[in-house]
Symmetry: C2
Subunit: 109 residues, 2 copies
């Protein structure tokens, strides 16, 4: 199991819009290459690699090299510290209680 990244690192990684979009695209795809992520991103390939490095250090993505491609995939446990952090403020969940119940039903009917 990968070491859990500190909450600050995770928050910081997701705070930048460009980087968060990269993360969302990685989530949306089963696996996705850097070249594909660069396409239509509006930034250079180097910038994408830098964002992926941050996301990786935050424990949010993992990589798999194959030939000259490097495929990235989402790392589910990476968001755990964020969930835990929000869990500390249970009072907040009350507000979104119904939505959460629905979500859990979808996950495990």
């Amino acid at each position: 199991m990968t070491e859990a990244a500190p909450i600050t690192q995770i928050m910081r990684a997701l705070a930048d819009p460009t980087r968060r979009t990269v993360f969302e695209r990685v989530v949306g795809a089963e696996e996705i290459s850097v070249a594909e992520l660069t396409r239509g991103s509006g930034v250079t390939q180097g910038a994408i690699s830098q964002h992926l490095k941050s996301l990786k250090q935050a424990g949010l993505v993992a990589e798999r090299a194959e030939g000259r491609n490097v495929f990235y995939r989402a790392e589910p446990e990476g968001l755990a510290p964020l969930v835990d952090w929000m869990g500390h403020y249970g009072v907040f969940w009350r507000e979104r209680f119904a939505d959460l119940r629905n979500l859990l039903k979808e996950i495990d009917p």
Copy 2:
């Protein structure tokens, strides 16, 4: 109801350790003054006011002036966009869904 702040603003507000600590202290107290927040924060009163301004703009706290004091309190709905954002990645919740069930039980046994 307050306008929901964009997810980026919320993430950015919570990404800074000092500011997140301020938020956590506001959550921990029913109401808390700026002077009290400044105490033991390690930064000046002006910095605290600036952080509170960011948190307020992110919809995470609200204020109440009384005399020469200004008391801050947490704003529950402020975290909703964050919850919603995580909700979009339902797959992630599967990993933590046992913990979530326990959390929901605590909230509404």
